[in-house]
């Protein structure tokens, strides 16, 4: 019970810190007028990451071994 309470408190503090940091960053981006550029950069990075993950060759490729035509 004590362990869970500690986890809860740490999680709340960490979440508050993350939100606070994001608010600071968002303010800087908004002031600088780079909001659209930042959105585009994040979107492009996300797209490239998705491509890299989904186009990665899968390890579970079945290799069929059979009589080859040029084995003679």
């Amino acid at each position: 019970m004590r362990y869970e309470a500690r986890n809860f408190v740490v999680a709340v503090v960490a979440l508050a810190a993350v939100l606070w940091t994001l608010a600071g960053l968002a303010t800087l981006v908004y002031w600088s007028g780079l909001a659209w550029w930042m959105c585009a950069a994040v979107g492009a990075a996300g797209f490239v990451w998705t491509l890299r993950v989904y186009l990665r060759p899968s390890a579970a490729v079945k290799v069929e071994i059979g009589p080859s035509s040029n084995s003679r």
């Binding site: 362990y3 869970e4 500690r6 986890n7 809860f8 740490v10 999680a11 960490a14 810190a17 606070w20 940091t21 608010a23 600071g24 960053l25 303010t27 800087l28 981006v29 908004y30 002031w31 600088s32 007028g33």
Partner: protein, 223 residues
């Protein structure tokens, strides 16, 4: 859900333990630099900023500085960790503390300058918009200003006024850069006087702690 949170908290705890930095020292640097830089930002905004953003300076200073504290915290953490990696093995205490102070000053000032530049950019956007609307309503007044010529030839009227506004922001930013660097160095040295002996934990102390812990475990098993 609780297991996910628990695992995340454990990982966070592990990482915090591994970094071996005195977080109170890092927080002291971050808070001091954030509020000093916030003071210069508020002063600059009051001098050359847009009229729409005019408000009570004290409240504005407190709000903006508080908002930026986590970014300064991240910057100071990076500076202390870099200093530990680059100069942690040096024997000379002066080199360690001096290099850390310099790194914290440089990284803290970079964040402060970025904050000031972003605020100036926002002010300039608002002022440009105001100039355009004023020019549309009172074209004769805006054009008739004597001496409103920008350094670039062929730029007169509203273009010249916008360029003059931009030039005043650039000048203010240059001035603020020097002020930020000097005041941050002074603040960092002040904090260093109080917390200079508690920047990071040495690897030897960590090993000794582990030995003591292991010895007590062995003793507990034997007894």
């Amino acid at each position: 859900m609780s297991t996910v949170v628990g695992r995340a908290v454990e990982r966070l705890d592990e990482r915090r333990r591994r970094t071996q930095v005195y977080w109170v020292t890092v927080a002291s640097f971050a808070v001091a630099i954030a509020y000093v830089d916030g003071f210069w930002l508020t002063s600059m905004q009051g001098a050359v900023g847009a009229i729409e953003r005019n408000e009570e300076p004290l409240g504005r200073w407190l709000r903006d500085s508080t908002l930026m504290v986590p970014l300064f915290f991240l910057g100071v953490s990076a500076a202390v960790l870099l200093a530990r990696r680059w100069f942690g093995h040096r024997r000379s205490w002066v080199v360690k503390v001096g290099a850390t102070a310099l790194l914290v000053t440089v990284i803290g000032s970079a964040i402060g300058i970025a904050e000031t530049a972003a605020s100036s950019a926002y002010d300039y956007r608002l002022q440009s918009r105001d100039l355009t609307s004023v020019h549309q309503f009172h074209q004769t007044i805006a054009d008739a200003k004597p001496g409103a010529t920008a350094p670039t030839s062929g730029c007169t009227g509203i273009c010249a006024e916008k360029q003059l506004t931009l030039a005043s922001h650039v000048k203010a930013l240059k001035l603020a850069t020097g002020l930020l660097l000097v005041s941050n160095l002074v603040v960092v040295l002040w904090v260093m006087m109080f917390r200079g002996d508690r920047l990071w934990r040495s690897a030897r102390a960590d090993d000794e702690a582990r030995v003591v812990e292991a010895r007590s475990t062995v003793e507990a098993v034997l007894v």
